[in-house]
Amino acid sequence: MKAFAELLDRLAYTPSRNDKLRLLADYFAATPDPDRGYALAALTDGLFFRLPFRRIMAEMLEARVDPVLFNFSRDYVGDTAETIALLWPTQGEEAPPRLAEVVEAVKAAAPADVPGLLAGWLDRLDATGRWALLKLLTGGLRVGVSARLGKTALAQWSGRPLADIEEVWHALQPPYEALFSWLAGEGPQPETGAAPVFRPLMLSHQIEGRELADITPSEFVAEWKWDGIRVQASHQGSEKRLFSRTGDDISGAFPDVVEALPEGVVLDGELLVMREGAVAPFNDLQQRLNRKKVTGAMLESHPAHLRLYDMLFEGDEDLRSLPFTTRRARLEDWHAAHAPSRMDVSEIISFSSISELEALWGSARETGIEGLMLKRKGSPYLAGRPRGHWYKWKRAPLMIDAVLMYAQRGSGKRSSYYSDYTFGAWRDGENGEPELVPVGKSYFGFTDEELKKLDAFVRNHTVDSFGPVRQVEPKLVFEVAFDSVHRSTRHKSGVAMRFPRIHRIRWDKPAQEADRLETVKGMVVD
């Protein structure tokens, strides 16, 4: 538990991805089984304890801590679990428990025995250990480690390709002893058996206008790039799974699509929310993401749909080495034969010249289209982002001129710079005077040289500061690019931008000539 607590503590404060990878790899190298496997499971969202820990903790505290002092402390610290971890008296007489001891004991314990176990462990741990224990048991680690990052750290530590780890991942269970034994070079590659496992996706390269000239139309097919999330749907050995692009199991959030999946197939497609045959805005899909469970009302109001791009397996047959056109024909035949609900096959767009494609692209204004995909007819299905096979041609971004309002310090390498910018558009204030209202926030799109100039601008034009945030004189205009803009009740402006970035810094442009909020609202698609 001590090493795990130290790891969590470091991860929680470490902003850089590479530094996180190093901390994880060092931990996997230095920690024995089964502790490291349980740590991996906890970090990658693979451990759940279905016990009412919040209630248990409240009861334990009542007997031990003065409620007035607890409330003063809770107000100061701002987080209940952290408050408990900090004010629990440190005893330090017995050695702290091992992570595996904790996980296995909680899994085996009767609910009535848990408070006693928990109190015993809290007594044996230091403040960091107690914090880690409570975070572990309540399932809220929040240290910025995704399943993908965990697997990447395994790859970095062991030297095995990430794709190999992803292939076996979903067939394995905590504490992953077979996985660690294989990665340490002490055992064979784990058998995946019949269970559905994630097969790494084939990804595309972005293509710009000029490079299109290098495309030979007869060697490619085109498809719309739909604005949802790429997924892999798998139904093998009587089990069904929906995986995200990074291999996270998102089946729980999309039972409607999972339910509809016929047996014996691995499919690649775009997950969308669709109503009456039309693709709903990405915002609607967002409502259903990041949930472990979904309500009946949500299933009704936000029905999910899978638009199929490719087929990887049919029965036991691995189709990935076949050319795209062959796989595509197999996909169409399979779809016709099974006619699964909530699934259709993505349309193939025929074209004979790039100019024809450009014209078609220019006229496409249907919601839900994010761009165009160009796929080489002969390409096998290859893991990762191989060169020369698939290209994506994204729609030109939307653009507004907005005024810098607030700047916040960055993290990690950027912690000495004001690098996160909130910008606004003009509207008429209550007194009739124009006022700025924030429309978005971005921390990228500019070069390191520009960042230095922006940082100096912020420091020289600060009018007020709140902790790490500075309010600046409304003087500097950003040309902000974004993919789309949606209505939002959570923002004062009533709009939320998708993927905003600083396209250009308009040092020359007077702030009063920046865009108005009405202009931004006019770009809302839903």
């Binding site: 130290e6 470091r10 929680a12 404060y13 470490t14 902003p15 530094d19 190093r22 901390l23 060092d26 801590v65 003065d66 007035v68 002092l69 607890f70 003063f72 402390s73 100061y76 610290v77 701002g78 987080d79 952290e82 408050t83 900090l86 004010l87 008296p89 440190t90 230091d126 403040a127 310090r409 993290s411 990690g412 390498k413 912690s415 000495s416 902790g467 790490p468």
Partner: protein
């Protein structure tokens, strides 16, 4: 308990805590004619006083930091040596806070009052250890007066720093530390952990380190951080004032790990707010247990709380059957920076 027992000779006026029969202030926040100063931190040792009684070390700190505005008539007192000021006997005792820090025992007409200044009970090789002084009225600080503050072993925090230096040898570790006390304590802890390489200093920390060395506290090899080549700063430990660690000054270092040695680092929101990547919980102040135990062992029937989180400490004082009062002295910063 007799009400007003102490009010007849101690009061808070616009300059701070004032002793009537001795006609002096203790740690006044503005210039006065006569003062007793507990220690050299700038919110206790203000510029412009005329006569000042303090330890030799504290007077040296004031001389170094205040220059022309140092006390015009300094008077040094050794720990445990009684000094009479008018009708009051004043004796300084070690407070364990920083070099030269003292608690002030005031005796008048048979009553004993101890003004703690800032203090800590945990071990610190760079200053004399806290001495418990029995008294009737204890005037205490309350910087960390919440039960969530239980400062652990400072050497474990330094071990964490050294482990990180081993894990990220290509980066410089820039540790924020207050110039008087914290800096020297961190250095001493590093030396005690066997770290013998040069430690790099921000220019603002040099004078206090020289002062400590002149009083016999050995700090080992120290180098100025400014002017060193960027490439030579890979893998080194740099100490800097907290205001410099995540600001323009720190950009001279290769991919710096921002660290901060402070009791506040125990609270995550506080560490995150300051952009700290490696928080080190090292405090110069008493934690909750030290505060409450010191109050109990002092035998005081009445406790006044000068500054900090006084609500929680007053609740505890009253719950344990003592009389408590918040002085809410102005001019005290959120200490342990």
């Amino acid at each position: 308990m007799r009400p007003d027992k102490f009010d007849s000779w101690l009061k808070v006026d616009s300059k701070g805590l004032y002793c009537r029969p001795g006609r002096f202030h203790v740690d006044p926040h503005g210039a006065v004619g006569r003062a007793v100063i507990t220690h050299g931190h700038s919110d206790h040792a203000r510029p412009g006083h005329d006569a000042v009684l303090a330890t030799n070390e504290t007077l040296a700190v004031m001389e170094t930091r205040l220059g022309e505005l140092a006390p015009r008539r300094p008077q040094a007192a050794a720990y445990g040596e009684p000094v009479t000021i008018d009708d009051v006997t004043v004796t300084l005792f070690p407070a364990g806070h920083v070099l030269g820090s003292a608690q002030v025992l005031l005796e008048w007409k048979g009553a004993r009052v101890v003004v703690s200044g800032d203090y800590k009970r945990s071990a610190d090789p760079t200053c004399a250890a806290f001495e418990l002084v029995p008294c009737d009225l204890f005037v205490t600080e309350a910087t960390f007066a919440l039960p969530v503050f239980q400062h652990g072993d400072a050497s474990a925090e330094v071990a964490k720093l050294l482990k990180s230096v081993g894990q990220f040898p290509e980066r410089a570790h820039v540790v924020g530390a207050y110039g008087l006390g914290k800096t020297q304590r961190v250095i001493a802890l590093l030396r005690a952990a066997g770290y013998e390489r040069p430690i790099y200093l921000h220019g603002a920390l040099q004078a206090c380190c020289n002062l400590y060395e002149s009083f016999g506290v050995k700090l080992g090899p120290l180098e100025p951080a400014t002017g060193a080549k960027r490439e030579d700063l890979r893998g080194v430990i740099v100490l800097a004032p907290p205001s410099a660690i995540a600001d323009r000054w720190s950009r001279r270092f290769p991919d710096p790990v921002t660290s901060f040695a402070s009791g506040w680092m125990r609270v995550r929101a506080r560490a995150r707010q300051q952009g700290v990547e490696l928080p080190l919980v090292i405090s110069d102040h008493a934690d909750w247990r030290e505060l409450t135990e010191t109050i109990e062992h002092s035998g005081a029937e009445e406790v006044w709380v000068t500054h900090g989180r006084e609500d929680a400490l007053l609740h505890h004082i009253e719950r344990t059957g003592r009389r408590g009062r918040a002085l809410a002295l102005i001019g005290r910063e959120d200490e342990d920076q």
